[in-house]
């Protein structure tokens, strides 16, 4: 089991490691699961100290918790030339015509 709502951090178990790896599209050997479980557990135990910080209003949360606020920036609705398709595709391992090819997706 892992941390509860109060943030009391506990170890992360191997099934959680596998689930998280799955979410991140990583395949792990058993050895790796064990390795990451060990290290992630230690880290999560350490960060459990954050539990003592009072939670603030949801409305306060955003990325700009810097010592200053970022000002909004917007761009005029004007077009610029797009990339040549050859250039767009030049780094791709597998292409077909001017598309990027992937194994067949079944919907």
């Amino acid at each position: 089991m892992s941390g509860d709502a109060a943030g009391r951090a506990a170890s992360i178990d191997s099934s959680t490691v596998r689930r998280v790896a799955g979410l991140a599209n990583l395949v792990l050997t058993d050895e790796e699961v064990s390795y990451y479980q060990r290290h992630l557990s230690r880290i999560l135990d350490y960060v459990g100290e954050l539990a003592s910080i009072p939670r603030q209003d949801v409305g306060e949360f955003d990325s700009t918790t810097l010592a200053f606020a970022l000002k909004p920036q917007e761009r005029l609705d004007q077009t610029q030339p797009s990339l040549d398709p050859e250039v767009a595709l030049v780094n791709a391992a597998k292409t077909s015509g001017t598309t990027f090819q992937v194994p067949r997706i079944i919907d």
Binding site: V20, L26, V47, L50, Q73
Partner: protein, 493 residues
């Protein structure tokens, strides 16, 4: 002919002499090509460099010079950390994932350097995707510290730092998310500046922790640090987090810098000085503080209790952002791809990512994925953000009473290659002095201030309020002109 000798040239001097016709861009390039050929492999600082590419650039810059353009970095070789995009030239982030990736565009900072007359001299080695503190996490071998090649140069920008320390180029760019410019600067005995968040465009910087990352300069003089920072700073419309300000002109300010620090108030951050400092570091910092006292500054102790949360806040926020930033690496549009016969889409994703990312990167991706996953956001990510706000607020209050803060850049000097690589948490804990600065988005400069008994460099960190780079550089200059460290020793490798 060339009287060019190692460790004798600064970027400012090169540019000035090139403009004066004293030396040619070609001569400068040849000199540094030789240095690179001789030492880059040994130190493993470079991931890419190409003599004919450099020759072509030399031609371009020579004709710009001839046409009468004023070029602040005329003929100056600059090395670029390999997580910064350079058009048509491999940009790998020291990862297998991007082994042959050639971006179709230049980063903003690269455009600025080239416009200023610089030669993009190569791409430097680093920790994979900038995740690490020793440059041992590279898929292409670790970087070595020129002061002792069995020791780490620091990270993640170890290649750039080591190269400048070894004079394979007079200046270089690194990136700093939690200390990745400052700490290698300290370990390598040079200057490293992490600018105020938003003063240097991140367009073309392959993102790790988007709200923490900044590109900054390495140099062996304060003047060069200022020169490079001026060139790369300023608004870029392609980066929405880029501040709407013109490029800095700190260089101008330095010329008239007076040594006296009468009236300046310097804060010693109590929490950084109790963090397991080794004895040489403690002594070097103490001596440095004395220098500032003698120059007339008022020293006072400052306490920022929330700093104790820095490591936790940093590692949760940075990895959360990184887990999203690295989701685009899936083998479909760029980067290497692992696809066996009969593979499904999910196979391609999983094999590509498992094969392409190294251990530390995977660990951070998983940590970040976990803290954002359903049911854990509040306990981890939200709390980390709250801690971040506390830290930022405390810094702001501190700066109401002092002009800048001082701390060691790192609690210890460089350690041996392999010494900490098996203990990620211990590695994270060694960043205690630098992380909080990124959380608050402040500018900070690492200043060389001595060596330990092994001959390894020690760095002190000057932290200032937002946009105070010029003041920090002046403070560093005052120190340097008094203590006279730089150039008093050179690394043997």
């Amino acid at each position: 002919m060339s009287d060019l000798r190692p460790f004798s040239l600064s970027a400012a001097e090169i540019s000035q002499r090139v403009h004066a016709g004293d030396i040619s861009i070609r001569e400068v390039a040849d000199f540094y090509v030789q240095r690179t050929e001789a030492y880059a492999s040994k130190l493993n600082t470079h991931l890419y460099w190409n003599a004919s590419n450099i020759a072509a650039q030399v031609k371009d810059q020579e004709s710009k010079l001839k046409s009468g353009l004023k070029l602040p970095l005329a003929g100056v070789p600059v090395l670029i950390k390999d997580n910064i995009c350079t058009r048509g030239v491999p940009t790998t982030c020291a990862s297998k994932m991007l082994e042959n990736f050639r971006p179709p565009y230049d980063a903003h900072v690269v455009e600025r350097l080239v416009a200023a007359g610089a030669l993009i001299f190569g791409k430097t080695n680093c920790d994979e995707f900038a995740m690490g503190s020793t440059s041992e996490n590279s898929a292409y071998g670790p970087v070595r510290n020129p002061w002792n090649i069995d020791y780490v140069p620091g990270g993640s920008s170890g290649g750039s730092a080591a190269a400048v320390a070894a004079d394979l180029a007079p200046v270089a760019l690194g990136t700093d998310t939690g200390g990745s410019i400052r700490q290698p600067a300290a370990f390598c005995g040079i200057y490293g500046l992490k600018p105020t968040y938003g003063t240097v465009s991140r367009y073309g910087l392959i993102a790790y922790g988007s709200s923490l990352d900044q590109i900054g300069p390495f140099a062996r003089t304060v003047a060069d640090t200022a020169l490079l920072f001026d060139v790369i700073s300023g608004h870029d419309r392609r980066d929405s987090t880029s501040r709407a300000i013109p490029p800095f002109q700190t260089r101008n300010g330095l010329g008239t810098a007076d040594i006296s620090l009468e009236g300046k108030r310097i804060g010693i951050v109590k929490e950084f000085f109790s963090a397991g400092l080794d004895e040489p570091t403690r002594q070097a910092l103490s001596k440095a503080v004395d220098v500032y006292k003698d120059l007339g500054a008022e020293i006072e102790e400052v306490s920022l209790p929330s700093l104790k949360y820095s490591i936790s806040a940093y590692y949760l926020i940075a990895t959360a952002e990184a887990s999203a930033n690295l989701a685009r690496f899936d083998g479909i549009r760029y980067g290497q791809r692992q696809e066996e016969a009969g593979a499904t889409l999910r196979d391609v994703y999983q094999q590509t990512r498992s094969h392409g990312f190294g251990t530390e990167v995977k660990q951070r991706i998983m940590l970040g994925t976990f803290v954002l996953s359903a049911g854990y956001y509040d306990a981890y990510y939200a709390k980390a953000t709250a801690a971040r706000r506390l830290i930022s607020t405390e810094f702001t209050s501190a700066f109401a009473n002092v002009d800048w803060l001082i701390s060691p850049t790192s609690p210890t000097t460089a350690f041996r290659l392999g010494e900490k690589i098996d203990d990620p948490l211990a590695m994270y804990l060694s960043d205690i002095c630098t992380l909080a600065v990124n959380l608050a988005g402040l500018p900070a400069l690492s200043v060389p201030c001595g060596w330990d008994e092994k001959g390894l460099p020690i760095g002190m960190q000057l932290i200032g309020p937002p946009l105070s780079e010029e003041a920090l550089l002046k403070g560093a200059l005052a120190y340097e002109q008094t203590a006279k460290h730089i150039g008093s020793r050179i690394p043997q490798f």
